[in-house]
């Protein structure tokens, strides 16, 4: 009796399906099936067939998803159709979690390429926490959800965008150049789904609101936003805002002979409770990397290439990333040589690991500066049209992601268990995912 009571028959768009209540229970209460089988809705006796006026092919795929947790979409079903149907049943989240597995740099597979329509080079690409991403081009940021459907683009008074970042899956912060004398530009908080401006961050200097240019962005788990700022008069440095109140809570002014307000890269170091600030070669004549402790307004560590022998021009630092686990900062030059600076010593020098001879192949027509990223002990470095993956204590090259189409990679970002790589030509961005785990 127990078995027969468990059995459910559906007629979906004319096709008969038979399944069990146990399978459907995997959909959860907040779904079509969860409500359908609630006691309030006196379901007719079990031998009768429940009619659902929907697409039967998609129902088969989704039913299979509920049965196995695996998503297998036949080629004849367009993604959009499947997503639409999943949305009807309230199973979108199920589809998303089944789409790709936990991130592993050595098992990535190219899953999609999205071609943009924006003019010129891309500035930045940022992965969102739930698999979406946003791409900054000139003065506009295009926002894509995890289904890679584009939402309304966002902009801050059509000023040139310098950086973007996700606070959560609903909110994006955008930093832009100022427009002289108008108070435009600066930093704003936007809705990722509707593209509406929700809040504009201000810089105050001696109780006066100043217009400013915001550069690189970073966020801390304590709900702080950091941005490199260049103001009209003296407001060069790093501004700090509270994510919840939106108010400016701190400002670290740059000292003479050092650079903070021009920084290309900010990185919050949770273990050290410090912010890494890096101003790199093309922006200034020299490179400056420093760690700031905001609790006592102290620069606790710094490094600069001022005074180092300039003969070897190729050893200019183009990107930097702090690796707290190994107490070092990894830097890269334009030939994709990796270098390491010890964080425990003050005034140490870069220890280059010489791979450039090996790698120095032909340069593309339009070279891009290399970028670095770190994700769960794996180090990623972009160069030309490929991304190298390094692992282990000695940072051994383990994988290389390459696709010839789209030109060299100008930026890439990891998040939501996906890697997004933005190519300089034709504004195409690639989506790399880890496939779901094997069946056995």
């Amino acid at each position: 009796m127990g078995i027969s009571k468990d059995r459910i028959k559906f007629n979906v768009g004319g096709r008969l399906f038979e399944t069990t209540a146990t399978t459907l229970a995997n959909a959860g209460r907040d779904s079509f099936f969860g409500a359908l089988f609630d006691d309030e809705w006196n379901l007719s006796p079990q031998d009768s067939v429940i009619f659902v006026d929907r697409n039967s092919d998609c129902f088969a795929v989704l039913l299979d998803l509920l049965r196995t947790g695996d998503l297998n979409v036949p080629a004849n079903i367009p993604e959009r159709l499947l997503h639409r149907e999943a949305s009807f049943y309230g199973l979108l989240d199920h589809v998303r979690t089944a789409r790709w597995g936990p991130f592993d740099g050595n098992r990535l597979r190219l899953s999609d390429s999205v071609k943009g329509i924006a003019p010129g080079d891309g500035t930045a690409i940022r992965a969102g926490p739930d698999g979406g991403c946003c791409v900054a081009h000139g003065s506009v940021v295009h926002v894509f959800d995890w289904m890679l459907e584009e939402h309304s683009p966002i902009n801050l008074d059509y000023q040139r965008v310098n950086d973007v970042g996700w606070i959560d899956s609903e909110n994006i912060v955008l930093s832009a150049c100022e427009r002289l004398g108008r108070g435009d530009g600066g930093m704003g908080l936007f809705s990722s789904s509707s593209g509406d401006l929700r809040y504009k961050f201000q810089v105050c200097h001696e109780n006066q609101v100043k217009s400013y240019t915001a550069g690189a962005l970073s966020f801390s788990p304590d709900y702080e936003i950091f941005a490199s700022c260049k103001g009209r008069s003296n407001e060069y440095g790093i501004g700090v805002w509270d994510q919840i109140t939106g108010k400016q809570t701190d400002f670290f002014y740059e000292s003479p002979g050092w650079s903070l307000g021009d920084a290309d890269k900010l990185q919050w170091l949770n273990g050290k409770n410090c912010l890494l600030v890096a101003t790199l070669f093309p922006r200034k004549d020299n490179c400056y990397i420093s760690l700031l402790d905001f609790r006592d307004k102290n620069m606790v560590w710094s490094w600069s290439d001022i005074g180092s022998p300039m003969a070897i021009d190729e050893k200019r630092v183009r990107d930097a990333i702090a690796m707290e686990d190994s107490n070092s900062i990894c830097v890269v030059n334009e030939f994709e040589d990796l270098g390491f600076i010890d964080l425990r010593m003050y005034g140490g020098s870069v220890r280059w690991s010489s791979r450039s001879k090996l790698m120095k192949s032909k340069m593309p027509d339009e070279p891009c500066y290399p970028k670095l990223a770190l994700h769960e002990g794996q180090l990623f470095s972009s160069m030309n049209d490929s991304i190298s993956v390094f692992c282990g204590p000695d940072w051994v090259l383990t994988s290389r992601l390459r696709r010839s189409y789209g030109g060299s990679i100008c930026d890439f970002s990891i998040g939501g268990d996906r890697l997004f790589a933005l190519h300089s030509e034709e504004n195409v961005f690639d989506v790399w995912e880890t496939p779901p785990p094997p069946i056995i």
Partner: protein
């Protein structure tokens, strides 16, 4: 033809916006609206969930989300308005039941409506940031039912009425109560607080104000506290049964304020039943209750503590200043210990071992123990008594307990040096007479004193023990080198270092020939082994065991003092001696001789000699002879010396003087130490610092300190500043 036309028309229309059916939205909504009605009328069995869900989905898909949302609100509002009329119409007791029934129906309906509108909830509402279906349904219930004017106050009054009934002992339907209160909680914290909790607390406050007034007029303190405690547990119980757990703190604070805080003083001071009465009558349970209740209110414990302290001080003052009670030192100290034990127990069992109460107890004892200047002496006597005889048959652990208690009293003493003085005297007596019961106990106490007061305090006491030990070795050496002495009387000499022992002027006394020969031998032996020393005999401190044969042949061994031995030995040569003869022969000072004769002749059962005439006191004309008829059950007879245990008034004065004398160098040393480091200091600060420095030993008298300063100035240790006379300078 018509077909052709139709196709053309369709192609034409297709260029415009595709509208499925202009009435599509209205039609779909009507289906849904009808369904909502059916759900509310509990007639939902015929509804197809799939159809309704699909319709709601289609409305959102075709951009009619707004219509769907507002339609749902309007329909639900209309239904709730109707329901509120029905609820309002319910009479008397059925009112709450009707409300609860309708609330349950609404919840069920809301759940089903939310199911139908699930897609709208997830997409349209999410992106437009409107209120979700479920909270919206609750808000509508709140606005249309709970806040409906004719229900609002009636509901509140009904609930408060029921609580009131329960407080007066009636049984109410707690389940129904819980459901209705749960409704308030479901509607949100602010609804619960504003519409129920606040008025509930106000009503409770009023209730307890009246009740506490009633109780305090009619009950004694113990009963009142019992009632207050009962009320408190009742309220906590009420919260557990049908209120929000967060209300517990609030309602208990109402009860605490009305029943305890407002009547605190009156309760504590209540005549014949207040705190003092409880303490006197050992009402631990009541005391514990008082502690637990008063602890809940500000200043509650402070009040209890203050009253306890003043009672303790008053009681202690009486105890130590009553001349009747300080007659017997042992009893006096025992009383102190008993009081301490009692309050220790009170604090331990009733007051949760509260540190602040222990401090109050200690400060009170410190206060009154020092009111009686003889406390140090009495404590030392108490120890003496215990160590002489009191410890027999007691385990080591119990000995430690007693000693620890004594140490506790010792800690309260301000004049620790006076104690030391007496302790030294008493210890000396114990050691020399061999009366001490347990060497371990003696040493254990010394160690305790040492940890309490430092090495200096006990160095002389320890010296006394060393002397005892050395004397043993000396005696062994003496008899080793004089084997011929194994026959005849045995002499045991204890060589005491001058200074370590309380010295008394050596009283000359003629020893019997047999003994003085031995003494001479010992003297020459001792001085032979230790050069440069001087020996003088302290005959007043010695004892002797002598064998006596009485008239009818009774043999006894008599344990007597050296003086008594000298007297008794005289009777070996003559049967009868006059007082004068004895005095002449022994040269014992008159007061000592009299005391010695008194104990030999006048103590019943131990009168080994008789005197004529028979009387209690010794006269200079009396004559003495051996009591031939002396009998005793025991072979060994101990003849005590009639000696005042407690010091007599002149002795007390003397000791006092000696103490004062001893303090002088200590005060001076302290002044010099302080001035040496400070170089320059004004009068008040010197007094303060000296007092502080000497506190562990005694409380220095400011006038005495002043005298010492003057003496030091005279001796050129200090000088007065030439401009400011209040300043002193240190002269190196």
């Amino acid at each position: 033809m018509s077909n052709q036309k139709k196709r053309n028309f369709q192609i034409e229309a297709f260029k415009h916006r595709v509208v499925v059916d202009p009435k599509y939205a209205d039609k779909t909504w009507q289906i849904l609206e009808r369904a909502i009605h059916q759900i509310y009328n509990q007639d939902a069995s015929g509804l197809s969930f799939e159809e309704l869900y699909r319709n709601a989905y289609n409305m959102v898909l075709h951009k009619f989300g707004e219509k769907l949302y507002s339609g749902f609100i309007a329909t639900m509002t209309a239904h709730l308005k109707e329901k509120s009329k029905l609820i309002e119409a319910a009479q008397g007791g059925s009112f709450l039941e009707e409300l609860n029934k309708k609330w349950n129906e609404h919840n069920k309906a809301l759940e089903m409506i939310r199911d139908i509108l699930m897609y709208m909830d997830r997409t349209y509402i999410e992106s437009t940031k409107k209120t979700h279906v479920h909270p919206m349904g609750l808000n509508l219930w709140r606005d249309n039912v709970v806040h409906f004017p004719k229900i609002h106050t009636r509901l509140l009054n009904t609930l408060l009425d029921l609580v009131q009934k329960e407080r007066t002992g009636e049984v109410i339907d707690r389940g129904l109560m819980r459901n209705v209160i749960k409704m308030f909680m479901d509607l949100g914290e602010s609804v619960y607080q504003e519409d129920f909790e606040k008025p509930f607390l106000e009503a409770s406050s009023e209730f307890y104000k009246v009740e506490s007034q009633e109780f305090i007029e009619s009950c004694d303190c113990g009963d009142y506290l019992k009632k207050a405690e009962k009320r408190l547990t009742e309220e906590i119980d009420r919260v557990a049964h049908y209120l929000d757990p967060k209300s517990e703190e609030k309602i208990t604070s109402v009860v605490e304020k009305e029943m305890i805080a407002n009547h605190m003083q009156r309760l504590v001071h209540m005549e014949n039943s207040g705190l003092v009465n409880m303490l006197l009558n050992d009402k631990y349970e009541d005391l514990g209750r008082m502690y637990n209740l008063f602890r809940r209110v500000t200043n509650g414990l402070l009040t209890v503590r203050d009253v306890m302290t003043s009672h303790l001080r008053e009681m202690g003052k009486q105890l130590v200043t009553d001349p009747e009670k300080s007659k017997d030192p042992v009893e006096y100290v025992q009383r102190l210990l008993d009081e301490r034990d009692k309050y220790d127990k009170v604090i331990n069992t009733a007051f949760g071992n509260d540190k602040t109460f222990q401090n109050a107890l200690n400060s009170s004892f410190e206060y009154f123990i020092n009111l009686n200047a003889r406390s140090p002496e009495f404590i030392s006597l108490f120890v003496d008594d215990k160590l002489r005889k009191g410890l027999k048959g007691i385990t080591d652990v119990d000995v430690e307990v007693i000693l620890d208690k004594v140490m506790m009293l010792f800690r309260y003493l301000q004049e620790k040096d006076v104690f030391e003085k007496y302790y030294k005297q008493h210890l000396a007596k114990r050691l020399l007479s061999g009366k001490t019961v347990s060497d371990d106990a003696e040493r254990s106490l010394i160690v305790k004193l040492k940890t309490e007061c430092g090495y200096q305090f006990t160095s002389k006491l320890e010296g006394m023990f060393t002397d005892m030990k050395t004397s043993e070795d000396t005696m062994r050496g003496f008899y080793g080198s004089h084997p011929e002495l194994s026959e005849g009387p045995t002499l045991i000499v204890q060589v005491l270092t001058t200074g370590s022992w309380p010295t008394q002027p050596a009283v000359p006394c003629n020893l019997p020939a047999e003994v003085s020969v031995l003494c001479e031998k010992f003297r020459s032996y001792y001085l032979g082994t230790h050069t440069g020393r001087r020996l003088s005999w302290q005959t007043n401190m010695g004892t002797a065991d002598i064998k006596a044969v009485f008239g009818k042949g009774q043999k006894h061994e008599l344990n007597v003092s050296t003086f008594q031995m000298c007297v008794l030995m005289l009777f070996n040569n003559s049967d009868r001696l006059s007082y004068k003869e004895i005095e002449q022969a022994t040269e014992i000072p008159a007061p000592d001789l009299k005391r010695c004769l008194q104990s030999l002749a006048c103590v019943k059962g131990k009168n080994v000699i008789k005197k004529e005439p028979m009387s209690k006191d010794i006269g200079e004309e009396d004559s003495f002879f051996v009591n031939d008829k002396f009998t005793s059950k025991f072979y060994k007879v101990k003849i005590g010396t009639v000696v005042a245990q407690k010091e007599t008034e002149p002795e007390k004065q003397e000791t006092r003087q000696r103490v004062e004398e001893d303090r002088k160098p200590q005060i001076e040393a302290a002044i010099v130490r302080i001035m040496k480091s400070r170089k320059i200091l004004d009068h008040n600060n010197i007094i303060a610092e000296v007092t502080k420095q000497l506190q562990p030993r005694f409380l220095a008298n400011p006038t005495e300190i002043k005298k010492r300063i003057e003496s030091l100035i005279e001796r050129d240790f200090l000088e007065r500043d030439s401009t400011d006379r209040k300043l002193y300078r240190y002269l190196a």
